[in-house]
């Protein structure tokens, strides 16, 4: 499998995304922004289509538009404080509508439509691999440098602000990073499933971790194992990588859920037995 250069690139790209996407997912879920990844992937698709229509590099235009989408959502979130899902819904539908209309104007793009929607192992070019690597590096630096203010911001924005955290600046930077990560993950998992890379490992980790750092470590391990096993399965079974990775992550999530339930039941029973 690794004799093929495209598989090497897919694994490198998967490794980078597998580290950064689950970390982002933990923060997004705790900030009640789990749907943002989905929204930005639709916006990024509009950017790809726009690039093709205007004869720009579609990868770069998708990237830039996803970042802009992240910033607009953050701005609108501050306007609709009590209904933070409203800007997400507005941007998601606008992004998809724009993408569909622009794609209908560009026949070449229509042909590769499914690879954008569902991802493709062969889709990761050298240029994209560099981009993914740089995004992952920037993301890691961001999370390591700002781990303390991010923790306080995620727990409660108001107390974080009183405690000296630059909430607005940090939230906008976080949105930019989310847009960058989403745009760079699309070649592998596709527009429709990019949020599964963020949400599923984070959802699993938040259920079983006892501390914040352990939640992040569990999410990253789950993400990496899911991506590598998904890519391998996808190669041998000739299935779309996005769907395969997402299904494997879903199996991990359901398995952990069932095991946790069984363990809790066992603990409860032994407690009752001890007390009686």
């Amino acid at each position: 499998m690794f004799d093929y250069e495209f598989m090497q690139r897919a694994f490198w790209a998967g490794g980078f995304i597998g580290i950064i996407a689950p970390i982002l997912g933990v923060y997004l879920m705790l900030r009640r922004q789990a749907l943002i990844a989905d929204t930005l992937s639709h916006v990024s698709l509009a950017g790809v289509a726009l690039g093709s229509v205007l004869q720009f590099n579609p990868v770069i235009s998708g990237f830039v538009v996803a970042i802009a989408g992240g910033l607009i959502i953050e701005r609108l979130r501050r306007t609709y404080l009590t209904y933070s899902e409203v800007p997400v819904a507005i941007i998601m539908t606008s992004g998809l509508a724009l993408a569909v209309v622009l794609m209908s104007l560009e026949s070449n793009l229509n042909k590769s439509f499914s690879s954008y929607l569902f991802g493709s192992i062969v889709a990761v070019s050298k240029q994209q691999l560099w981009m993914i690597g740089i995004v992952a590096l920037l993301g890691l630096l961001f999370f390591i440098l700002f781990r303390r203010p991010l923790y306080n911001l995620t727990f409660d924005e108001e107390t974080a602000r009183i405690g000296g955290v630059h909430v607005k600046w940090l939230s906008f930077s976080f949105s930019v990073l989310t847009g960058m990560t989403v745009a760079s993950a699309i070649p592998i998992v596709g527009v429709l499933l990019v949020s599964s890379l963020m949400v599923l490992p984070a959802a699993l980790a938040l259920k079983i971790a006892r501390g914040f750092l352990s939640a992040i470590i569990i999410a990253v391990i789950t993400g990496l194992v899911g991506i590598f096993s998904g890519l391998t399965t996808s190669y041998y079974m000739n299935t779309p990588p996005g769907g395969t990775i997402s299904l494997i992550l879903l199996v991990f999530f359901i398995t952990s859920f069932v095991i946790r339930k069984l363990l809790l039941r066992k603990q409860r029973r032994s407690r009752i037995a001890r007390s009686s």
């Binding site: 727990f155 980790a205 006892r210 914040f212």
Partner: protein, 236 residues
């Protein structure tokens, strides 16, 4: 000495003002209670004092000289903050340690002194035994206590508390008022607390601002004339 003064402040949500032309002062080193019925704008006033809300009109100022030139370090415990974050994946000690982050900045490591402050804060609210528990496993009152410990670990010189004893039993509440009184008397901390239980807190507080809502045909808002001071020095 006046620590913070609010002058002719007007603020509202949407187009409707809920606070109109209110002026009040907070003195350095006092234990101040703010009380009033639901909807009397108690939390709004706290948020205006903290700078979390910007007044439509009027000014809110902090007098740094009142703290002997020291930068005001404000600890804030919002209403039931921990209950809204039950699923937060954090151990009690991890959360309380985060109170020190504002002093430590991005890179400085925890010193032995800082660790001792975290331990002391947790012991003072009676939660040291629970330091390795996950937040979600605690009761409402216990969650409230660890949020108070987190604010204390920040080593504030001003502590702003919005109904901090919600969910606590009688004994814990009394222990908490005594602790706050100790910080005011011994450490010269300024404590501002929104409370409903005046009969319990009267003997601990230096001053109470009692808020009532004016209801007329035109306005439904808080004004200075209805902001009465129960005892202690008069506010303007």
């Amino acid at each position: 000495m006046i620590l913070s003064s609010m002058r002719n402040v007007v603020f509202g949500y949407g187009n409707e003002p809920v606070v109109e032309n209110i002026s009040l002062d907070i003195y350095a080193g006092e234990f101040l209670g703010i009380t009033g019925p639901n909807g009397a704008a108690k939390t709004t006033i706290l948020k205006l004092l903290l700078g979390l809300l910007k007044p439509w009109n009027g000014t809110v100022e902090i007098n740094q000289n009142a703290l002997d030139g020291a930068k005001p370090v404000i600890g804030y415990v919002p209403q039931q903050v921990a209950s809204f974050n039950s699923g937060f994946p954090s151990k009690v000690i991890e959360l309380v340690r985060s109170g020190c982050y504002s002093r430590l900045g991005l890179f400085r490591r925890f010193s032995a002194e800082q660790e001792a402050i975290v331990e002391k804060s947790l012991k003072q609210v009676g939660m040291w035994e629970y330091r390795n528990s996950r937040i979600g496993e605690l009761s409402g009152g216990q969650k409230q206590r660890i949020c108070i410990a987190r604010a204390l670990a920040q080593q504030p010189n001003v502590l702003i508390l919005d109904e901090p004893t919600t969910g606590m039993d009688h004994q814990s509440r009394i222990g908490f008022y005594e602790l706050m009184k100790h910080y005011v008397d011994v450490h010269r901390m300024t404590v501002v607390m929104v409370t409903h239980g005046l009969e319990e807190t009267n003997s601990y507080l230096d001053r109470v601002i009692s808020l009532e809502r004016k209801e007329s045909e035109e306005w439904k808002c808080l004004t200075t004339s209805l902001c009465s001071v129960r005892f202690g020095p008069e506010v303007s």
